[in-house]
């Protein structure tokens, strides 16, 4: 296992997370010995970089905010540059439990992309109302695209194998919701196998999820839009990658 951890890069996009990122990095390095942890400071105006560096992470600083998608593509490019096989995306706010990472990595034996699903039995994460319906619909549609049963398609807790890493280093979308919905579509249509395993979620260290109906409706609309365009775009292929690299 530790051999696999050494070939794995943990990428944590961070935007103004100085209060929690230090603890999360320390927990990751303690829980997963030998792993390399890259915090991507996504244009924060606070001391995220200093805190994460002091905690022992490598920190890449983006000159301005690109969103999760932009931060993650930087992580994939860094992984390729440094010769890491696998990338695990982990939130820097402490929602994702690093103890689930070995299970995600084990599942990479049978898939190119493993999603840590929040509703698959473990933990007590719950959403209600339109957001729940939207997530159900997305799950159903993306399950069909990926050819496997997925219950949580908007999870930010994911493990990527070598094929997916090289694909995402070029084609990771920076748009809103692109890092979840469209990324899945890109991977599935490029021939990557997708699977999910249950993970438990912890409450966010700071802030609480909003229950504003207008925001929920806006989320719904944007999610459908993102899905629709992801499905009608020309697919990216892995073979093309191999030829052009």
């Amino acid at each position: 296992m530790s051999e696999r951890l050494k070939r794995t890069l943990i990428v944590m996009p961070a935007f103004n997370e100085e209060e929690v990122v230090g603890d999360v990095v320390r927990e990751v390095l303690r829980t997963l010995p030998g792993v390399h942890c890259l915090v991507v400071n996504d244009g924060s105006s606070d001391s995220t970089t200093a805190v994460a560096r002091a905690a022992g992470a490598t920190v890449a600083e983006l000159p301005y905010n690109l969103g999760v998608g932009g931060a993650m593509r930087l992580g994939f490019r860094y992984a390729i540059e440094q010769g890491f096989d696998n990338v695990v995306q982990l939130d820097s706010d402490g929602q994702h439990d690093p103890r689930s990472v070995p299970a995600l990595l084990d599942a990479l034996d049978r898939a190119d992309l493993v999603i840590g699903a929040r509703f698959a039995g473990e933990g007590d994460y719950e959403v209600r109302g339109p957001r729940k319906w939207a997530m159900r619909f997305l799950a159903a549609t993306l399950s069909r695209t990926a050819g496997t049963t997925l219950t949580d398609t908007t999870s930010g807790f994911k493990a990527m194998g070598p094929r997916t890493v090289s694909l995402f280093a070029q084609h990771y979308p920076a748009e809103y919701l692109g890092d979840t919905i469209e990324a899945l579509v890109i991977a599935a249509r490029a021939g990557c196998t997708v699977t999910q395993i249950p993970v438990s979620m912890r409450p966010r260290a700071g802030g609480k999820p909003s229950h504003n109906p207008f925001k929920a409706a806006a989320y719904l609309g944007r999610a459908f839009l993102a899905l629709g365009f992801a499905l009608i775009r020309p697919p990216a292929s892995l073979r093309q990658e191999a030829a052009s690299v």
Partner: protein
């Protein structure tokens, strides 16, 4: 059409063309962005000088009031230019995104090299 409105139409077209050409001359506008404005300016000048062309064109496409054709073409050109600008903006955004990523990766390499060379100038972790 009165003489005043004839002169006004021609003058407006000439002014537009003058502004666009002058900006091109001073390199404040690139040719690829100016092409639509040049086309619009020349069309306006042509119709300003020979209003019969407008009347003929309107009758060809079945528009009763020739001015409506002017509005239609003007709005169509504006919409197309706006779409072109949005597309350019998208291209520019993806280019600056790639540059931002490159800058961050280079910064990481520099830090590593500096650490190896022992010249670790304590750069402020801002």
């Amino acid at each position: 059409m009165s003489v005043t409105s004839y002169v006004f139409g021609v003058a407006a077209a000439l002014l537009t063309l003058f502004v666009v050409i002058e900006m091109l001359r001073r390199r404040q506008l690139r040719e690829r962005h100016a092409i639509w404005w040049l086309i619009a300016g020349f069309l306006a000048l042509l119709i300003g000088l020979f209003p019969v062309i407008l009347e003929w064109a309107a009758s060809v496409v079945g528009i009763d009031t020739p001015t409506n054709l002017v509005f239609f073409i003007s709005i169509a050109i504006l919409v197309l230019v706006c779409i072109q600008h949005s597309a350019e903006l998208t291209t520019l955004e993806s280019k600056t995104r790639a540059l931002a990523e490159d800058a961050a990766l280079h910064d990481l390499r520099l830090r590593k090299l500096e650490a190896l060379a022992g010249v670790g100038t304590e750069r402020g972790d801002s």
